[in-house]
């Protein structure tokens, strides 16, 4: 009897503590996922009740050349943004992990872009890459190269977005790598140098394999964020010029809030979610396979 009463007290206390957060997260995080899936089978402008139209939105998606263009641009973006960030971040983290004078200042410099909002970053880059009086064109001009159009050139805009987002995310990747490198046991590095390993060889054979979990995490995280690119495009090119930077989420935004085709936008959202989900699962498996390098 007393035991049951204590259990009952646990149930009420547990829900009493957890309910506010659980209800909020359920209502605003979980319910919308199911709802979005239902929306993708409707025709709706998001303001008035929609009508069910079966799989029409998905049929439209498969046949929509603008969707596939956006998908291709998103892939190009991710295929550049993720590897460039990773390849730059690791050597920088290794350098910032050395005991040299002023290393804290260098760390500060590298991580400052992290707290800079995308809007501020966009405004700064709009100015730096301004075709008439921007700093980058001034630098090109000084070394005798022709001025470039950057955000105004359909052939360049997406690459400038890549450069801008690499600048914004580099500090994040460096911090993750630094944390991983600081966990590499010192005696392993000492042992490898006693065995005659040079600094470069011990990097390839000791540090690189040991930070593999960090690389795996960054690969997933940067890709997920890259697939969701929107803010950086909105504050710089608004998807232009000539749709050159209209990536998937930007296309979704256009469909929902410019064409008022909420159902189709939801279908695009579900497609993005599917890609992200598959990617995450594949990566999780890959991570499990490489994590045996981890030394405790």
């Amino acid at each position: 009897m007393t035991l049951d009463r204590r259990k009952l007290a646990d149930h009420t206390a547990g829900w009493g503590f957890a309910a506010p957060a659980v209800i909020l997260i359920g209502a605003f995080g979980l319910v919308p996922v199911v709802w979005s899936f239902l929306l993708s089978f409707q025709r709706t402008d998001l303001t008035s009740p929609g009508t069910f139209i079966g799989g029409d939105n998905y049929a439209k998606l498969v046949a929509d050349p603008l969707f596939w263009d956006a998908a291709r641009r998103t892939l190009v973006y991710v295929a550049l943004f993720v590897p460039i960030t990773l390849v730059l971040a690791l050597p920088i983290a290794v350098m910032l992990n050395q005991k040299i004078r002023g290393v804290l200042l260098y760390r500060l410099a590298v991580s400052v872009p992290l707290v800079t909002s995308t809007v501020a970053t966009g405004i700064m880059f709009n100015w730096l890459a301004n075709p008439q009086f921007g700093l980058v064109n001034a630098a090109l001009d000084a070394v005798g190269l022709p001025k470039q159009g950057f955000f105004t050139d359909p052939g360049q805009a997406l690459y400038v977005v890549v450069a801008m987002t690499v600048w914004g995310w580099l500090g994040f990747a460096v911090i993750i790598y630094l944390a991983a490198l600081q966990n590499v046991p010192k005696d392993l590095l000492e042992a490898s140098s006693l065995d005659g390993c040079g600094r470069v060889r011990s990097f390839w054979h000791v540090e690189l394999p040991l930070v593999a979990p960090a690389t795996g995490f960054l690969l997933v995280w940067l890709t997920i964020n890259g697939l969701q690119l929107f803010d950086a495009v909105y504050v710089t090119t608004k998807g232009g010029p000539l749709r050159a930077t209209t990536v998937l989420v930007y296309h979704l935004y256009n469909e929902a809030f410019v064409s008022f085709d909420g159902g189709y936008a939801a279908a695009i959202g579900c497609a993005v979610f599917l890609v992200i989900g598959v990617f995450t699962l594949v990566q999780l498996r890959f991570n499990r396979r490489t994590s045996h390098f981890e030394v405790r």
Binding site: F28, P32, V112, W169, G269, F273
Partner: protein
């Protein structure tokens, strides 16, 4: 005498590249109009504080900053309270449905926001919250990540700590507030820094949820300001500096927690 490292030859130029956009933003914000449109660009001859006054005068920058501040602070307080309560329950109290609830909550972490935002907008409309700060606060008042972080923290604490207090007759709430709270401080600080940065810099949701200049956050306001003032760079840059000041302050004074929270959350 230790020889200066050759690494400076790489790290110094790299640091310059990383901080140049920010430094240049500061320089343009104190330049005159003519100086900002020179080619090639150069250093300003004096400090034109007038740009800051002009930015404050020509845009409701004050109310944008206030809105951002209100939303961020309310969300920080909400997360600290609700996430530590829920995290405590999930870590320590065996209650009916706790495993399912926790799993479903974690699952929401995988969902991209673009999936959530369309129904969320419909919900906010039917709640009458669209174009109010409530629409920005409600969905961010408690986060799955926050609950997860706090639960992880509570599972690392030895049970004896609270059992002693419980045997002495203290209620769970009192144990949490009087015995565990002092130990929770670093984790709470991490959660606070992270929530503040995220809500302050949030863009997509406020872009959809608020429209009138009086309810805009500073990020959305700045974006609309940019559309209207591309010809006056100094004024625009002054506004941008003001919008970044609070997060830069948080960054400098809470760097320890900041680095930890980035590593813990993987969120920018």
């Amino acid at each position: 005498m230790r020889r200066p490292s050759a690494l400076h030859l790489i790290l110094l130029p790299l640091s310059v590249v990383m901080v140049t956009p920010l430094v240049w933003m500061l320089l343009v914000s104190v330049s005159t109009q003519e100086e900002s449109r020179r080619f090639p660009p150069g250093l300003p001859s004096g400090i034109e504080w007038e740009n800051y006054l002009a930015a404050m005068r020509d845009a409701p920058l004050g109310s944008w900053l206030t809105n951002s501040f209100v939303v961020s602070v309310v969300c920080v307080v909400g997360n600290l309270l609700l996430c530590s309560f829920a995290g405590y329950a999930f870590a320590r109290i065996p209650f009916f449905g706790s495993k399912v609830a926790f799993f479903l909550m974690l699952a929401t972490l995988m969902v991209p926001f673009q999936i959530v935002m369309l129904p969320l907008l419909i919900m906010m409309r039917s709640l009458g919250l669209v174009d109010t700060l409530g629409a920005l606060i409600a969905p961010n008042l408690a986060t799955a990540f926050g609950v997860f972080l706090m639960r992880q923290f509570f599972t690392t604490l030895p049970r004896e700590l609270e059992e002693a207090a419980r045997i002495d007759g203290a209620s769970r709430l009192r144990t949490l507030l009087q015995v565990l709270l002092p130990l929770m401080r670093p984790t709470l600080a991490t959660l606070a820094v992270l929530t503040f940065l995220q809500t302050w810099n949030d863009f997509l949701w406020p872009l959809l949820a608020v429209q009138s200049p009086g309810t805009m956050t500073v990020q959305i306001g700045l974006q609309s300001f940019q559309g209207a003032h591309t010809t006056n760079w100094p004024k625009l840059m002054a506004g941008t500096v003001l919008s970044q000041l609070p997060v830069l302050l948080v960054f400098f004074f809470a760097q320890r927690f900041f680095v930890r929270s980035v590593a813990a959350a993987g969120i920018k």
